[in-house]
């Protein structure tokens, strides 16, 4: 049976933990709003780019000189995985979901006899994968200490990936990130970047109509050569933004749970404390009364 003083100390420590978690929840909520509006602002560009790409890609995909970024190298041997995680923790299973999904993919691909390379974005994923797959890790990018990410960051990763593709260092590139569904649900998702996957229906649309309508200046291939690296950067940018929004969403709900748990714990501890206090009073009273009776 802990003493009254012990109980008091524990209640106080849980109370200060609760203060911290509820403050973190507020901070995460504010940052979530900002991350969400940033993700929203990026949407128009991505949509329009997709429209243009659909018109262009359908006409170029069949040609033998189609750019590598669109059709890949034609092989399926070396896979580049780009797991996107946050730099910080205290966000429930957010980071480990992506890391675990990456680990499963690596095991599956290696089981098939493929070579796997990892370009880790975010500190948490890097640290997780480093333990087991440090031989596969070819690089990492972290944004620790940064307030927000901007498009230039995505472009840097994009350039790195494009350079590697041109040097023939991989055949297939896949990014693994948490898709932001709502504040409480983020779904770890694999998205293949290279060779590019066009939505089926759109390819047909474009093949049927769009190509026949549009004129291209200077010509399809020159535009594609500029558009594809840009598209790669945009896809990465989207993954980074969804990751940021998802992280704050996940942190918010994790901190909300922690605050509630701390509340429950305080309630239970206070109950124990009061019981112990009353037991003490009763015991003292009995002592006094029996003392008085003895006299």
């Amino acid at each position: 049976m802990p003493s009254l003083k012990d109980l008091r100390n524990r209640i106080n420590s849980v109370k200060s933990t609760q203060k911290i978690t509820s403050a973190m929840k507020m901070v995460a909520a504010a940052k979530l709003r900002r991350a969400q509006s940033q993700a929203e602002a990026a949407r128009p560009y991505a949509q329009r780019m997709e429209r243009m790409l659909a018109a262009l890609a359908a006409s170029a995909a069949g040609s033998p000189t189609a750019p590598r970024a669109l059709v890949g190298t034609g092989r399926d041997q070396v896979h580049l995985l780009i797991p996107v995680t946050a730099d910080r923790g205290l966000a429930g299973a957010f980071n480990s979901n992506v890391s675990r999904m990456t680990r499963n993919s690596i095991r599956r691909l290696e089981g098939e006899g493929k070579t796997v390379k990892i370009l880790a974005v975010g500190r948490k994923g890097r640290d997780f994968l480093k333990r087991e797959f440090s031989a596969n890790l070819i690089g990492d990018v972290t944004y620790a200490g940064r307030k927000s990410i901007n498009f230039t960051d995505a472009q840097e990763i994009g350039t790195r990936v494009t350079t590697m593709l041109m040097a023939g260092e991989f055949d297939v590139a896949t990014v693994i990130y948490n898709q932001f569904h709502s504040v409480i649900t983020q779904v770890p998702t694999e998205m293949q970047l290279i060779p590019m996957k066009l939505p089926e229906a759109k390819v047909e649309d474009a093949a049927a109509g769009a190509h026949a309508i549009y004129e291209f200046e200077p010509d399809e291939e020159t535009i594609l050569a500029h558009l594809l690296p840009q598209n790669l950067a945009i896809q990465l940018y989207r993954a980074l933004l969804e990751n940021a929004a998802g992280f704050y969403g996940s942190q918010m709900s994790a901190m909300d749970n922690a605050t509630r748990n701390a509340g429950d714990m305080i309630k239970r501890l206070s109950q124990n404390y009061n019981r112990a206090r009353q037991a003490n009073i009763t015991r003292e009273l009995i002592e006094i009364i029996s003392g008085a009776e003895a006299v």
Binding site: A42, Y214, E217
Partner: protein
């Protein structure tokens, strides 16, 4: 009948308004777009976008390059950056020009895509300097 102009950067929608005519800096020369233009997808170089109301220029913006989609009723410009001409900084342009020139000089002579990319950046930076000077 005006044409709907949209200028979009990866980070946000920069501008969306109907204009009577817009001049965009195509990779193969400036082109003016009036309503009912034939559908086109155009590569842009660094240069100036001019918005017209009637015959008057209402707005001038610098873009560092990008793409434009033209249809009979709208023009969509995908640009990494678009700055009103009055806010274009000459110093920034010169800094970029120097960086691009250094990159061009450093690039492998056989690496044609890298040389082309550096040249595009030089052209874009030069346009920025010239426009800043003119403004």
């Amino acid at each position: 009948m005006p044409v709907d102009l949209e200028i979009v950067s990866p980070e946000k929608l920069l501008l969306s308004k109907p204009v009577d005519m817009v001049v965009i800096p195509g990779a193969e020369g400036e082109m003016g777009v009036l309503p009912l233009h034939a559908p086109m997808i155009v590569l842009l170089r660094g240069g100036e976008i001019r918005l017209y109301s009637g015959t008057n220029v209402t707005e001038r913006l610098y873009v560092s390059g990008g793409f434009a989609e033209v249809t009979p009723e709208r023009v969509t410009v995908l640009a990494n950056e678009a700055t009103p001409l009055a806010e274009v900084s000459r110093a920034e342009g010169e800094r970029r020009l120097a960086a691009a020139e250094a990159e061009y000089a450093a690039a492998d002579r056989m690496d044609v895509p890298a040389l082309d990319a550096a040249q595009d950046r030089m052209q874009s930076a030069r346009a920025m300097v010239e426009l800043a000077q003119a403004a």
